[in-house]
């Protein structure tokens, strides 16, 4: 008897799939220790995260689950020492993803892809400080710091990089959605865990 209210089983699924999603995040994030590649994280997490995410929305497909996942992911990010901005970003982008998928009644494939792509951009929240701090850093250190270092830093965090990174997230999400669906069909559905 399926209702549209989120029940205990859905909440448990949110917990489990956030763990799986977060592991994908962790794998992608390992590249982030090399400052340049940090900008590629949204692309990677979009792709890898698609696998657990597609299974997740198939199992839950109720309004609110994606929002919750974004929120919990944001909280977890905060707990491991990422910026607190991850939490509002998680909530907002989770919500956006949820709304988009809801317009397709959780059945439209196209809306699911877009919804997931938008959701993926929540990770920008943890990276946002790099842009915020850049201005502060620049202003305070232009006195002491040598040209080369400054140039390099500025180069990596140009203002226009932010939209680029967001687009990377969207692209990653789209790829990830298709990847997730392929895995869903090849394995998960046939294994009966859907």
């Amino acid at each position: 008897m399926k209702t549209n209210k989120i029940d205990a089983k859905d909440l448990i699924n949110v917990g489990i799939f956030t763990v799986l999603y977060f592991i994908m995040f962790f794998i992608s994030g390992m590249l982030g220790y090399i400052p340049i590649f940090a900008l590629l994280i949204p692309l990677l997490i979009g792709i890898l995260g698609g696998i657990p995410f597609m299974l997740f929305v198939t199992k839950t497909n109720k309004f609110g689950c994606v929002t919750l996942m974004g929120t919990i992911a944001g909280i977890l990010c905060f707990l491991v020492g990422q910026s607190w901005i991850s939490i509002p970003f998680g909530i907002v982008f989770g919500f956006l993803g949820d709304i988009i998928m809801k317009t397709g009644d959780y059945k439209s494939w196209g809306k699911t892809v877009i919804g997931y792509a938008v959701f993926t951009d929540w990770v920008i929240g943890s990276m946002l400080p790099m842009w915020i701090m850049r201005d502060v850093f620049f202003e305070q250190s232009s006195k002491q710091v040598s040209g080369e270092y400054l140039d390099a830093l500025m180069g990596y965090t140009q203002n226009w990089m932010l939209p680029v990174v967001m687009v990377l997230g969207l692209v990653g999400g789209i790829i990830g959605a298709y990847l997730g669906r392929a895995v869903l069909k090849k394995h998960f559905e046939r294994a009966g865990i859907v």
Partner: protein, 240 residues
């Protein structure tokens, strides 16, 4: 029993999880965002000592000292040396130390929280803050599942090695590794999750009654001290 499994949960300081969250927030706001000049050059390193001290009270001696040393090096590099560094590797060093001075204290604060708080305490803290069950339950499940996923991953890895599915050579190549590690992991985790859901439901989860919590937490002397400390730093941050 703690959020982050491994090692004892005993601390010399008994601090309520809500206080720890507050301190994490304080460190998070101040260390990541602010500048490192002027007054910040003084209060930031002092604040950075907080995770160090807390880790010591939590008996995480090695972690505390490793953190202390790395942070000190990063701070010094960032404040005094990076102006003089040039050339490829040096730029990377400069960049890394700059980033470390900002993120490392937060990471260590987070580690302190996770290593010294029991899951039941954390959940109790959240419930006392009137956080919805819709957040609390997934969080509990999450903390319960991290060790499980770790165990499953290890076991799957063993099975893979034994059947000859290895990186390079062996059967299949890189995509295969992915397919043979991640997919079985997800399937096995989801199966456990389904069984867990069934079991939890038969024990009354999901009822309309408000859940109670069998874990007692509360504010004590140290909490008040920590709150004051945190407030002082926040004030410094906003006023200076």
């Amino acid at each position: 029993m703690q959020l982050f499994q491994g090692g004892s949960v005993h601390t010399f300081l008994k601090i309520d999880p809500r206080t720890k969250l507050f301190l994490l927030l304080v460190v998070n706001i101040i260390m990541i965002n602010g500048s490192t000049a002027g007054a910040a050059a003084i209060y930031k390193p002092i604040l950075a000592c907080l995770p160090f001290v807390l880790l010591l009270t939590g008996k995480r001696i090695v972690a505390a000292f490793v953190y202390g040393i790395i942070f000190a090096m990063a701070w010094v590099t960032d404040q005094y040396l990076s102006g003089y560094l040039s050339g490829g590797i040096n730029i990377v060093i400069a960049l890394v130390s700059g980033l470390s001075t900002r993120w490392l204290p937060c990471g260590m604060m987070g580690y302190y929280l996770m290593a010294t708080t029991r899951v039941s305490e954390f959940v109790a803290g959240m419930e006392k803050m009137h956080v919805s069950q819709k957040i609390v339950i997934p969080l509990s499940v999450m903390f319960r599942f991290f060790p499980t996923v770790s165990e499953e991953s290890g076991a799957i890895n063993n099975a893979m090695r034994m059947r000859g599915i290895r990186v390079g050579g062996g059967k299949g190549g890189v995509i295969a590794i992915f397919e043979y590690r991640i997919i079985p992991l997800i399937m096995s985790t989801v199966k456990i999750g389904d069984e867990l859901s069934a079991a939890a439901l038969t024990r009354g989860l999901g009822g309309e009654v408000k859940r109670t919590n069998f874990c007692s937490i509360g504010f004590g002397m140290w909490d008040i001290l920590m709150f004051l400390l945190g407030t002082v730093f926040i004030a410094l941050y906003f006023l200076l």
